[in-house]
């Protein structure tokens, strides 16, 4: 399981990049969901959001999950690429499959990579 150390992580399996303001879901989350077939982004560019708010909904062949904002801020960009190719979440969760980008995002209550690794390992089945 990949867990880049430059990112911050939410217990609900989202990542936040303090450097770029990008938000996505983790490698662990995509592996639990398995093959993602649908992504819907629930927020719009220009919208102010607070950490904990649902920002996206993803569906795999067998599961469905709400994605929550790991940080607060103004949505500067929504990634249409991942909406068009949901399978990117499986292949590149920390790269091409970012969901939204925040302008001046303030992280919520987030973990660093080692804490997240330990937390997700305890939830793996």
């Amino acid at each position: 399981m990949n867990t880049p150390s430059n990112l911050k992580y939410a217990k609900s399996d989202e990542w936040f990049d303090p450097a770029t303001g990008k938000v996505g879901i983790t490698d662990f989350a995509q592996s639990q969901l398995s093959d993602i077939v649908f992504v819907e982004i629930l927020v719009e560019e220009g919208e102010d959001i607070t950490a904990g708010k649902p920002i996206a909904s993803v569906e795999s062949v067998k599961a469905s999950a709400e994605i929550y904002a790991p940080a607060s801020g103004k949505v500067s960009k929504v990634n249409q690429g991942v909406v068009e190719k949901p399978e990117l979440i499986n292949s590149d969760p920390f790269g091409e499959a970012w969901l939204i980008q925040l302008d001046g995002g303030t992280a919520g209550d987030l973990m660093d990579s080692s804490a997240y690794e330990a937390d997700s390992a305890s939830r793996a089945h």
């Binding site: 093959d35 077939v37 399978e87 089945h125």
Partner: protein, 494 residues
């Protein structure tokens, strides 16, 4: 290109072929509609009757069904569907009556509906029954709407939470979601009952009510059901019963007597209406006195009492605070009500009790046979079904593999991965219409598969191997989304 086992009806089509013909018109010809209102083409198949028959017969042979074998799909009550039902529901008086005919011309239909309402009331202990809902989920929505209307009429606007046990069917929270209410999940305790402590903590004046399946989806009758109901009533909430598992309770206990305020029936489970490959169902709803005035419209009532010589005169009535209409017309009369009526009429009070007793006996017998070979997380006397875990120490075999392997032994698999609170769940409901030999063979197959899981797991991973089709690529289906056989992008794919 993929191998084609049976062509689609479109692939069987050939321009100029004819099936059933219509007679020539016997009225003078009139002008057609203006061109701009007419469709330019009608892209539907052209095919001869014999080929239509062969196509559908071929398709039918690709199905497993109750008529062909044991179908222990948990929570679905796949019992034998008596053949007489198929005759009675097609009697011309039923088949050819229009739903908007004047009531004096359809007294037979109305008498049947009235009696069925009365019978369901008697069986369940409720004060009123609507026959209108089309299926179980539709009945649930009906019930949730009535619960909301009850609180609204009392001006009790704070109530927005519905308590739902973690073992519940997905339709329960979905019905609540449609009403914009919040779902509060209540855990189960280690005996498979509702966790009373958690329930107590959740009970306050924001609670609409609780939706409880009893027996629950673990097949357990909640040992504290009266306490659960009194907690809900104590905080001003209403108690919804999901009647999916009513087969276990016929003549055993009446949900209305236990204090439930509302419950849906699944006539296609409990009362032998066939499942039809996914419907139609029929989901009447019973209510206690508390909710009587909120039932959907219309109900069948007696407009003029009968006497020794004259039958009563039946018609439609609307309850004073009715939530309104749940569907067009009166519900699934022909396909649902007539069959269920026939079935209940052929059982009587003792016959109904037999159903529940033998359904429960069969489930407990199977449970006893497979105990020791499969982990049974909630191991006590079950009701009409039980849940086992399809996983084994030191093996990567999963419930899905067990299920697929069962097909190789000629059985329909149990329900998989439900309830969600049991890992690798196999939910097994034999029903009362299976004999001991079948149950023994099924248990033997399950036991053999448990052995194979340890010794030859690849047999399970590669199963089914003896059926016409192997496992499907579900990812491809969801990603490529070919949903029609006629779209241009489809043609490219082939």
């Amino acid at each position: 290109m993929a191998t084609i086992i049976e062509p689609t009806i479109f692939e069987l089509s050939s321009a100029g072929r004819r099936g059933v013909r219509m007679p020539a018109s016997d009225v003078p010809v009139v002008d057609s509609l203006p061109q701009h209102l007419l469709r330019s083409e009608l892209p539907l198949p052209e095919i001869a009757e014999v080929d239509v028959v062969r196509h559908y017969v071929n398709l039918s042979k690709l199905n497993y069904s109750v008529d062909s074998g044991f179908y222990p799909l948990g929570s679905c009550t796949m019992k034998y569907n008596p053949k007489i039902n198929e005759d009675t529901c097609r009697y011309p008086g039923f088949l050819f009556s229009h739903p908007l005919q004047p009531i004096e011309t359809v007294q037979g239909n109305l008498a049947l509906m009235y009696e069925l309402q009365e019978w369901l009331k008697e069986i369940s202990g409720f004060a009123g029954v609507t026959l209108q809902p089309a299926a179980g989920a539709h009945g649930e929505y009906t019930g949730v709407l009535m619960m909301a209307a009850y609180h609204k009429l009392r001006g009790d606007s704070k109530r927005i939470k519905m308590l739902i046990p973690d073992a519940a069917h997905g339709t329960n929270p979905a019905s609540v979601g449609m009403m914009g209410m919040q779902v509060v999940t209540i855990p189960s305790d280690d005996r498979g009952n509702v966790d009373l402590k958690a329930l107590e903590a959740a009970c306050d004046d924001t609670v609409v009510g609780m939706m409880l399946t009893n027996p629950n989806t673990l097949g357990m009758f909640d040992e504290n059901v009266e306490k659960v109901i009194s907690l809900i009533h104590g905080c001003g909430g209403l108690m919804y019963g999901d009647g999916a598992n009513l087969n276990a309770l016929l003549g055993i206990v009446r949900p209305g007597d236990l204090g439930f305020d509302v419950m849906h029936f699944n006539l296609h489970k409990t009362f032998s209406v066939p499942h039809g490959g996914g419907g139609p169902g029929c989901g009447p709803v019973g209510v206690s006195k508390t909710l009587l005035d909120f039932l959907p419209t219309p109900l069948v009532g007696i407009l003029e009492e009968g006497n020794d010589e004259e039958a009563p005169f039946y018609g439609f009535v609307t309850p004073p605070n009715s939530i309104g209409r749940m569907k067009a017309f009166h519900g699934h009369f022909g396909g649902g009500m007539v069959r269920a009526y026939t079935y209940i009429a052929m059982h009587g009070p003792d016959g109904l009790k037999d159903i529940a007793q033998y359904a429960v006996l069969n489930a407990n017998y199977l449970q006893a046979k497979v105990r020791g070979h499969y982990k049974i997380p909630f191991d006590r006397i079950c009701m009409h079904e039980f849940v086992a875990e399809g996983r084994f120490e030191g093996s990567d075999v999963r419930a899905l593999d067990v299920s697929k392997r069962l097909m190789d032994y000629g059985f329909h698999p149990p329900t998989n991965y439900f309830p969600l609170i049991v890992p690798e769940a196999l939910m097994i409901e034999p029903t009362e219409t299976e004999n001991k030999d079948t149950l023994d063979k099924f248990a033997d197959a399950l036991i053999k598969i448990a052995e194979e899981a340890k010794t030859q797991p690849e047999l399970l991973h590669n199963a089914p191997s003896t059926t016409k089709f192997g496992r499907m690529d579900e990812v491809k289906a969801a990603r490529e989304l070919v949903l029609c056989c006629w779209l241009p992008e489809n043609v490219e794919l082939n």
